[in-house]
């Protein structure tokens, strides 16, 4: 026998796997492939449900906006909250009707926004700042007027406020 190992090794035949193993492995393969087909079907179902949900939300928003527009066309703009009307009346009492209306319009624009939430918050902040500026301006004018009037009366306190003047702490309303 030759001591050359390569031909010697090649003369032997590997035993290989059994026929029984072949059927066992291929059976497991087909089961695995079948099991994989299940989740794919379920995944499609899940996607369909998610798509339906998104479609439902979008159509709900669309219908609600359409309804709002229709109602606005039929009955006019949405009524303002009582608290806003109260503020507007107070503004009107210390300034004039035009300023109060302007404030109401600004509030209505901020209250019924057609834009995103961050924009809405920004507009609301702007509105409250405008309101504060107008209020302070009006308050300053009135105070100056009262001081001048009361100064003429004997015993009056300089800078004293009249009963009609109410104090609104707008700084507490505004975000930091």
């Amino acid at each position: 026998m030759s001591p050359d190992p390569e031909p010697l090794l090649q003369r032997l035949t590997p035993r290989g796997s059994s026929a029984d193993l072949r059927s066992r492995v291929l059976d497991r393969v087909s089961k695995e492939l079948a099991a994989e087909a299940g989740p794919r079907w379920q995944r499609w179902c899940g996607l369909a449900v998610a798509a339906g949900l998104v479609l439902g939300i979008v159509s709900n928003v669309w219908i609600s906006r359409r309804q709002e527009r229709r109602l606005a066309e039929l009955y006019g703009p949405m009524p303002l909250p009582a608290s806003v009307r109260e503020i507007a009346q107070t503004i009107e009492s210390v300034t004039d009707k035009q300023t109060a209306e302007w404030l109401e319009e600004r509030y209505a624009a901020a209250y019924h926004p057609q834009f995103s939430l961050p924009e809405h918050i920004q507009h609301l902040e702007t509105f409250l700042r405008d309101l504060e500026t107008v209020w302070k301006e009006a308050h300053r004018e009135k105070t100056e007027g009262n001081s001048q009037t009361r100064a003429a009366w004997p015993g009056s306190v300089p800078g004293g406020r009249s009963d009609r003047e109410r104090y609104f702490d707008l700084d507490a309303w505004l975000p930091a």
Binding site: M1, L12, P14, R15, G16, L21, R28
Partner: protein, 175 residues
């Protein structure tokens, strides 16, 4: 016409049967040599094909399917050996587990199978793996380098060193 890799990627059962017929026997022999037992090789070969099924979508990109199957089998064998540490102690399979000739009625063929089995047992694990993959796995050095994760020259050097060792051992046995 679609290639075997493309059919495998689509999850075609017949393609897996075709792949099994093309590689399983060679791969099984390699696993027996690596794990030392036919039962362990059976289990690992099954795990190998299940892993191929689980990642069948990636198979379309595989250039050399045979080398890929051996690589997956090698990884599965390492996992199996890790799970059952005692298997690694038994690295030397019997000739009857490896070669058809070991059960031959011809005494000279049986003797030859025993001799080769004993000769392979003298090699270290790395050299033996390269010899098994080259001679019985039918892989090229490039494919062996891919399967074992070593550079091509290293695989070739290991093979040459293994043959030198076998030659010396056989010369001593036959003298």
């Amino acid at each position: 016409m679609q290639t075997l890799a493309q059919r495998l990627a689509q999850g075609d059962h017949a393609a897996f049967a075709e792949l099994y017929d093309a590689c399983a026997d060679r791969c099984h022999h390699y696993l027996v040599a690596r794990l030392g037992s036919r039962d362990a090789a059976d289990e690992v070969l099954q795990e190998t094909f299940l892993r191929l099924v689980r990642q069948h979508r990636c198979l379309a990109d595989v250039e050399n399917l045979a080398a890929y199957v051996f690589m997956v089998a090698r990884n599965e064998a390492s996992r199996y050996a890790g799970r059952r540490a005692r298997i690694s102690e038994r690295q030397k399979p019997l000739a009857a587990d490896l070669f058809l000739e070991a059960k031959s009625e011809d005494p000279s063929r049986r003797e030859m199978a025993d001799l080769v089995s004993a000769a392979l047992a003298t090699l270290n694990a790395e050299q033996r793996e390269v010899v098994e993959l080259k001679i019985y796995g039918g892989l090229t050095f490039r494919e062996i380098a891919v399967v074992t994760g070593v550079p091509l020259p290293t695989a070739a050097t290991r093979y040459r060193a293994a043959l030198e060792r076998l030659r010396g051992w056989l010369a001593r046995q036959l003298s």
